[in-house]
Symmetry: D2
Subunit: 365 residues, 4 copies
C-alpha cells in the first residue's frame, strides 16, 4: 500500500479501523508503506504497525503481499502510478483528481483489476442517507441542487505560495481541490450527470511569499462559481472558495424536489435536514435528522444513537466499500471512468470561465 | 395616497405606525385611498381610518391634501402612474419593479419631486447594520457576495395560473419578483454596481390551471441562477426560486471580505451573523448578533433588547426614511435611477439566460 | 383607558393595530390616556391620537366613553386600580403581577365585569400552536416541561438600583418579572396546574448605585431556579435570571410527551420545533415549523408564509382575544383567578427558597 | 486489560488509536482481553489483534504483561475488581460509577498505583477548551451552570426491563447513568464542588416486559431534576431523562459568568458557543467556535480546521491523558477520590428526592 505524507494519516486510520469495526468478507492489513525519504517512511511504518517500508513505489508493485495500492501522492503523479499498479495486477484506490489532465486520465482506465477514486464524502452517512431517500422518491423529481464548499485558509495574504497554488502541479485551485467534491456529490445525489456549465473564477491575492524567499505569482483560482443543468432539467449552482473568511470546511448542499427537500453541511456531518412537502402545511418544516440510528448507512457498526462520527470515518467507510467490491468482483463507485467524467466537468468549468461562455454540453466520458 | 389591494395592507400598516413610533420632521397621514371597485375602496378607507376613497387614480393626483403617492399596483402600471404623479407635483414611493421594461422605466425619471423605489428589505435593521459594518471596514475588502431568495408556493403543480405567471403582466417570474431584491441588496451592501452577469433560468411546471377554467402556459421563469462580477473584482452568486420546497421566504445573503464575513436570513430577520477574522483563531467563529440593541439601526424607537421586530417593520422604516428625505429635500435611496439600474441588471440576466452567454458588462443607467 | 409610561407603548401599539388587521365584533378605540404628569400625558395622548388625557386614574373611571381599563402601572398599584375599575363597571386588562401579595390579589376578583391578566406570551402564534398540538394529542401524555427565561441587563454591577430591584415595590426580582411568565406558560401548555415546587434563588450583585447617589442594597433575587410537579406526574424545571450574559430575552420552553416533543424560543418567536416520535426512526428529527402559515393561530390576518411577526404582535392578539371575550360575555383567559393562582405558585417558590424545603402542594386558588 | 462486552468497543478503539495519532511517552498495547464466555472473548481478542484472551478477571491480574486494567464491567462489580487490581499492583481505569454505593466506593481508594475514573466527556475538545477559557478568566466569576443530559430510548413503554432498570444492579436510572456526567462536568468546568442540592425524580413507565417473559417493575428513575449551589454562590440546574422524545444524546451545558458565557451540546460536539460581554453591545453575540483548530485541546494531532471528530475520540484522549499521567507519576483526573465525591453528590440527590428536602451540604469526600 502506497501512502504519501500529505494524506496518508487519514487513509491509514481508515484501513487500521475498518477491520475492527465492520465484518468484512476479506481480511485487510497494511503490509507496506511507501514514501519519499527512507527514514521518514521507516518511522511511519513503525508508527502504523506496518510490516515493510519502501522508498520507491515501483518496488511496492513487485511485492506479492500487496493486492491493493492506495495512492495519496500529489495529483500530478496519480495517473502514472495508477496505470503501473493496474498493469502489475493490483487493485487501486486513487485520491482525486484522477489526473491533472483529461488526456492522462483516459489512459488510466482499468485493466481487469478494480479501481476506485477517493471521493470520500459520498461515504458520510448523512450523504449516503440523502442518496437513499432520493432514490426512494422521498423528495420527488429533482429541481434544484445548490452546493458550496468554502474554506478560509487563503484569506491571509501572507499564506505561502505552496505547490497547491501553482497550476503546473495542482492543475487548478479551489476548483480542483474542493469543487471536484461538489461535482461528484451533486451527480451522485442527483443520479445523473451534468449536461452544461457556465462559470466565473477569481484570484484575489495574486502574489504570495515563496517558501524559499521572495514573492511569486499565484497561478490558480482562489474561488470558482458555476451553474449547471442536468439532462432532466434540474438546475444546479456551485460555489467554492478558499478565501471565505470564517468557513473552515463548509461543504453544503441542498436539493429541492417536487415533494420535498434535503440539506447537508459537512461542518455538522452527523445531521441531515429533510423537509417533506406532503405533510399538512401547519405542521411541516425542515427536520434535523441525527444520522446516528442503527438503520442509517454504515451506522450498524458504530455507536448508540446521538453518538456522532467524525471526518475520518469517511475513510473507514470508503475502505469498507472497496473491500466489499473487491470480494464481490464488482466495479466500485466512483470508478476511474466516473472520476474521469468529473474531471471533464471541471475542465469545461475552467474553459467556460476563461472564455466567458456557457458550455451547453459536457463531452461524454 | 394610492393603495391597491395586493400590497396595500403592509404599506398602510407602515404609514399608520411610523408617526406613533418615530419622531418625524413632518406629520404623515393617509388622507386618501384609491383602488378598483368603489365599494371595496370605501370599505378599505373606513377600515384604515382614511378620510377619502377614490376609484380612479387620476382623481388622486388632483387632491391638494395628497403630497405623496404610494404606488402598489401591479407592475405593468407602475411607470404610467409614477410619471403622472411626478408631473402633478407629487412625491412618489413606487413598488418595484419600477417598470416592466427598461424603456418605460427611463421615462419615469424624477421631475423635481422626490421618488423612491420600494426595496423595503434594505430597511431590515440587520441589513442596515450589515451595511454600516461594511462601510466601517469591519470585514475589509469584499470578495464574495452569496445571495439566494427561495420560496415554495409554486411547488404545487395545481397552483393557478395567475397574472404573476404571465410575462405580459409580470415581466418575469422569480427573477423580477424575488431576484430584484437580491440584486438591490447585493449592490447596496457591496456599495458598488454589478459589472457583468451570467445566468440560467428554468420553468419546471409549464402548464397550470387557469382561474377561469382549462389550462394555460406559464410564460415566466420558476427559478433563476446567475453569477456576477463587481468592478472591484468581488464575485457574486445569486439564486432565486419559487419551487424550493420548504423555503417560505428565505432571503439569505453572505458576504466574505478580507477581514471577516457577514450573513443574514430573512426568515430570522432579527439576527445578523458576523465573523471577525482578526480575532485569535482559537476563539473565533460566526457570532449571532441579535439586532435589537438601542444602538442598532432603527432600534432606538422600538422595544428592549431581544424583543424582535417583524416583516412589516421594514415598511415602517421605509416610510420613516422617505419622510426624512422629503423634509430634508435630499434624494431618497434607492431613487428611480437606482431602481432603473437594478432593472437593467435583471434584463441582462434574462438575456444571458436566453442566449447562453456571459454579459461582461451591464449597460450603465 | 389607563396607560402608564413604562409599558404603555406596546399596549397602545396593540390597541391601535388590532382593529385594522382583525375583523372584530366590537369597535375599539383609545379614548383616554392617563398617567402621572399632565404635560407628559397630554403629549402621549396627542402622539397616539387619543381624544383625552387624564392625570388621575379615578377620573378615568368616571368617563362614559371608557368601557375597558388597561392597567400598565407599577405592580404595587395593580390591585387598587383594578378593584376600583371593576366596581365602576369597567372591564379590566391588568398587567401581571395581579398584585404584589396574594392577599391583595384575592380582593381583585371580578365583579360581574370581565377581567384579564396580561400574560401576553400566550398570544405568540408559536405558543398558541403548541397548545393546540398538545390538546390534539400530537405529543401524547406530558412527561417533562423545561422552561427558562434569561436576560442579562443586570450583568453590569453598575446598573442602577431602580424600583425593580427593591422588594417593597417590585415584590420579587427575576422571579416575579420573568418567572411569572414561565409559570403561566407551563400551566397553559400543560393544561394543568403545578402541585408542588422546590426552589433556590440568588442575588449576585448585592449593592448597586442609587439613581439619587450613593449605593443601596438589592433586596430582590437576580435569579431563581425551581422544579415542580404536575398532578399528572409530569415534572417541570424552571430557571430565570437577569444576569445570564448574552441572553437578551431568551424565554425557552420544551415539552416532552409520550409521542413527541415541542420546543420554543422567544428570541426566534416565529418558529416552533416539533418532534414526532411515531415516525420511523431513520427519518425522524426535530422539525422547525415556521409559524407563519394561514392555518396557524392568529395568522389568517397577517402576511404570507415566511413573513414573520414581532414581539408587539402578542399585544395585538391579546387585545383581539379580549375584545372577542367581551363581545361574547365569556371569561377571558387568564382570568384574575388564574392570575392569582400563578401568583400563589410564585409565593410558594419564594417560601421554598427561603426555607430550603420542597412544597409538595401549592395552596388552591 | 479488562474489557467487558457492553462498553469495550469504544475503549478498545481508543487504545488502538491513541499510539498511532499522539506522540506518547510510553508504548501502549492491548495485551489481553477478558470477559464472560471463552468463545466470545477469544473472538474479540482475535478481532482486536490482542495477544491473549482470559475468561476470569483474576487471571488477568496475574499477568506480567498487564500494567493497566481498564474496567468496563457492569457497575456492581467495579469496586471489587478495581480494589483487587490495585492490590495486584496494576494501574486502573474504571468506568463510572466508581461503585454503586458510597460505602463500597470508599474502599476502592488508590494503593500507590494510579487510578482514574472514566468521565470521558471531559476529553471532548470543546469541553476542554471551555475549561481553559474559564480558567483564563474569559467569562469572569461564574454565576450559573445549566446542564441537561437527555435521551429517549425509554420512551417506548415496551422497551424491555434490562438490568439498567433494576436498582440492585444499576444503582439508579438516568441519574447514575447520565446525571453522573452532568455532575462531573459541572464541577470540572466550575473548578469547585457542589455544596448543596435539591432534587425531584420520576418514573413514568413503572412496568415493562421482562426479557424472560411476563412483566416486571422498574425500580430506578426515568428522570431526575436537581438544583445545586456552589460555595462561590454560583447556582446550578441539572436535568436528566431517558424519556425525552427526540433527544438522542443531548448533553448540554451553559455557563454564565460576570464577563461572558459558554455553551456546549454533545450532539454538536465539535462546537463551543462563546459570548464575550466585554464587547460593544452592537456587535456582541454568541459565537460558534468550531473546535478544530491546531491550538485547541487535543487537536494538534488530528485533522485540518473544520474536519470534525466524533464521540469515540473522547476515549482516545482519555487514554492519552492516562498514559501521560502514568509516565509522569502524577494523579490522573478524575481520580478515584474525585469519582467518589461525584457519587456522594448523586447519593445526596437521591436522598433529597426521596425525602422532599434540600440538602444544604454534601458530605465531603
Amino acid at each position: 500500500m502506497l501512502l504519501s505524507p500529505r494524506k496518508h494519516r487519514r487513509h491509514s486510520q481508515g484501513w487500521r479501523t475498518v477491520g475492527r469495526v465492520f465484518d468484512l468478507p476479506l481480511r485487510s492489513a497494511m503490509n507496506a508503506v511507501c514514501g519519499r525519504g527512507r527514514d521518514a517512511v521507516t518511522a511511519a511504518a513503525a508508527r502504523h504497525g506496518s510490516a515493510a517500508a519502501e522508498a520507491d513505489w515501483r518496488r511496492l508493485l513487485e511485492r506479492d503481499d500487496v493486492q491493493l495500492v492506495d495512492i495519496c501522492t500529489p495529483g500530478d503523479s496519480h495517473a502514472e502510478i495508477a496505470v503501473a499498479a493496474l498493469r502489475a495486477g493490483k487493485h487501486v484506490l486513487c485520491e482525486k483528481p484522477l489526473a491533472n489532465s483529461v488526456t492522462a486520465a483516459e489512459t488510466a482506465r482499468a485493466r481487469g483489476r478494480l479501481a476506485m477514486v477517493g471521493f470520500n464524502y459520498r461515504r458520510t452517512p448523512a450523504v449516503a442517507l440523502a442518496r437513499r431517500m432520493i432514490r426512494d422518491g422521498r423528495i420527488g423529481t429533482l429541481r434544484h441542487v445548490r452546493a458550496s464548499y468554502l474554506q478560509d485558509w487563503l484569506v491571509d495574504p501572507e499564506a505561502p505560495l505552496t505547490w497547491r497554488l501553482r497550476r503546473e502541479q495542482a492543475g487548478s485551485g479551489a476548483l480542483g481541490n474542493l469543487g471536484a467534491h461538489l461535482v461528484d456529490l451533486a451527480q451522485y445525489l442527483a443520479g445523473e450527470r451534468l449536461a452544461g456549465v457556465s462559470a466565473v473564477t477569481g484570484t484575489f491575492v495574486r502574489e504570495r511569499p515563496r517558501p524559499t524567499g521572495g514573492r511569486g505569482t499565484v497561478t490558480v483560482d482562489d474561488a470558482a462559481l458555476f451553474t449547471g443543468r442536468f439532462p432532466s432539467g434540474a438546475l444546479a449552482s456551485f460555489e467554492t472558495s478558499r478565501v471565505a473568511a470564517g468557513r473552515k470546511n463548509a461543504l453544503r448542499s441542498e436539493l429541492n424536489g417536487a415533494h420535498g427537500s434535503l440539506a447537508f453541511d459537512l461542518e455538522r456531518l452527523n445531521e441531515l435536514a429533510f423537509h417533506d412537502q406532503t405533510e399538512p402545511a401547519d405542521a411541516a418544516g425542515f427536520r434535523r435528522i441525527l444520522v446516528t440510528e442503527p438503520g442509517h448507512p454504515y451506522l450498524e457498526a458504530w455507536w448508540p444513537p446521538g453518538h456522532g462520527l467524525g471526518y475520518e470515518h469517511t475513510f473507514v467507510h470508503q475502505a469498507r466499500d472497496l473491500v466489499h467490491a473487491i470480494a464481490a468482483g464488482t466495479e466500485p463507485a466512483p470508478s476511474f471512468a466516473g472520476g474521469l467524467q468529473a474531471q471533464r466537468v471541471l475542465t469545461a468549468v475552467e474553459d467556460s470561465a476563461a472564455k466567458d461562455c456557457t458550455y451547453t454540453s459536457v463531452p461524454p466520458s
